[in-house]
Symmetry: C3
Subunit: 209 residues, 3 copies
Amino acid sequence: MEQTLTLLVLDLVGCFVFALSGGLMAVRKELDIFGVIVLACVTGLGGGFLRDMAIGATPVAALSDWRYLVVPMTAGLLTFFFHPALGRLEPLVNVFDALGLGLFVIAGAVKALDFGLSPLAAAVMGLATGVGGGALRDVLAGRVPIILRRSVFYAIPAFAGASVAAFGLYAALPASLAMAAAFIVCSGWRLLAMWRHWEAPLPRGSASV
Amino acid sequence: MEQTLTLLVLDLVGCFVFALSGGLMAVRKELDIFGVIVLACVTGLGGGFLRDMAIGATPVAALSDWRYLVVPMTAGLLTFFFHPALGRLEPLVNVFDALGLGLFVIAGAVKALDFGLSPLAAAVMGLATGVGGGALRDVLAGRVPIILRRSVFYAIPAFAGASVAAFGLYAALPASLAMAAAFIVCSGWRLLAMWRHWEAPLPRGSASV
Amino acid sequence: MEQTLTLLVLDLVGCFVFALSGGLMAVRKELDIFGVIVLACVTGLGGGFLRDMAIGATPVAALSDWRYLVVPMTAGLLTFFFHPALGRLEPLVNVFDALGLGLFVIAGAVKALDFGLSPLAAAVMGLATGVGGGALRDVLAGRVPIILRRSVFYAIPAFAGASVAAFGLYAALPASLAMAAAFIVCSGWRLLAMWRHWEAPLPRGSASV
């Protein structure tokens, strides 16, 4: 029970941080107050929505627990009123974003396994949970999703972490060990990639295709 | 039973009007005849699709009742052949759009409550039902969704109306009273906002972020 | 049983070919290796995802059978490493794409009928299965979906083929006859339209609206 509570708190923290990133994007697009709140909610909740609709966990979690709605709404309101301060805190926001990514991919993989999916499918659902909200945010804002463009920062660590969680739990590793390893792989990689400016291979001669 | 029939007719009217707006957007993007029909259907049915997939009401309503498919297809065909006349009728179309928004948010909130969601979640689903189709229309047409940009006209009245319906019914108000109040709040606000050119607050200094 | 296996193989071939088209688009957008794989998977699996979420066939098929994940991942990897050769083979890829479209609309219509949908709704789901992945690919790549713009090539043959399959099976035609006719209508039309450069009617004076 205590573990469930811990997971819930971590999930809500991830949701809050992701919602901040959506709110900041909305401010940059000069959306008005409700547009900021809506984009914050879509970013914070979109990944879990996609996962729950795909695995059939309906009504989706965000609609079954009021905290999943209130947290990103609050993040959107905070972004609207305090975005200059948040902009200055962007390095900190990025760190939280990396931590949020780790939490989301684990939560996604665990839930997918609970619904009877294979470890590979659970890893894909962990990836979708971690990057789905940001992809929706970018599509709504009219940009090619950053998860497609900067995969070393998002998609690769998300899939790696989700795979560690999914295959680790499937192989009956102790849950806390599998989750801790997954979190370190995903969020650690994401932080290292930011810090060291890693880049993923591009297709040969892609610019000339 | 009679009330159900009334709701169905109102829902189909809303679907028809929303489909017209999708068809007009398609004509402006110079899509061909089938593109016009498809965008009309996506706009008329998208909100309900999202709601039904999120709450687990599958197969979604639009697939369970042929009238939900025939109505927006007809609207698309009419737009294709008579769009110059429809363009001249745009003020009238906007009024119908405002009425359709009211009908959709109520239908969405009521259905979500029926599926056991909390009033807050039902209000969010009412919002999604009302603005989801238009958001899909805009994303497919390559625009930032108008619900993010002009929230005083769409998102705020939609959420206000959906909240009145959801919390009113949850509080066991007479259904007809709660729905009438919700309709007046949503569609009345939308019409007033159009008529008086209301605007929602923008973030401070957002242009310079 | 053998028929089911045949259908599965054909479905996977369609998935592979669609994933190639997504991978090629990703290479053109200069996405990195993981971006190519993700866009390939979204294109190959997106239509079936949409269909299964809409009809309530959850967890969606792509998550219940590992081959549906491995096939488009492989297609994405192949595109990443061999895209210059694939680019030269584009006419051949287009032919496979036409065949894949026929397979997908039939698979979509058949599954929708199995879930108790009406023939019209099943035809719409066949259409969604056939064109959904490409629509997601285009939206993620920041383009108006080609299914809206070039409907003679995609949406019309897809809907025609899906209708033949759905109404044929509903009318208790022999399954192999209904499916063969649907395949010829859809893929044959698509190939003819490519070969003869067909165009669908545009709205009158749409450019000046």
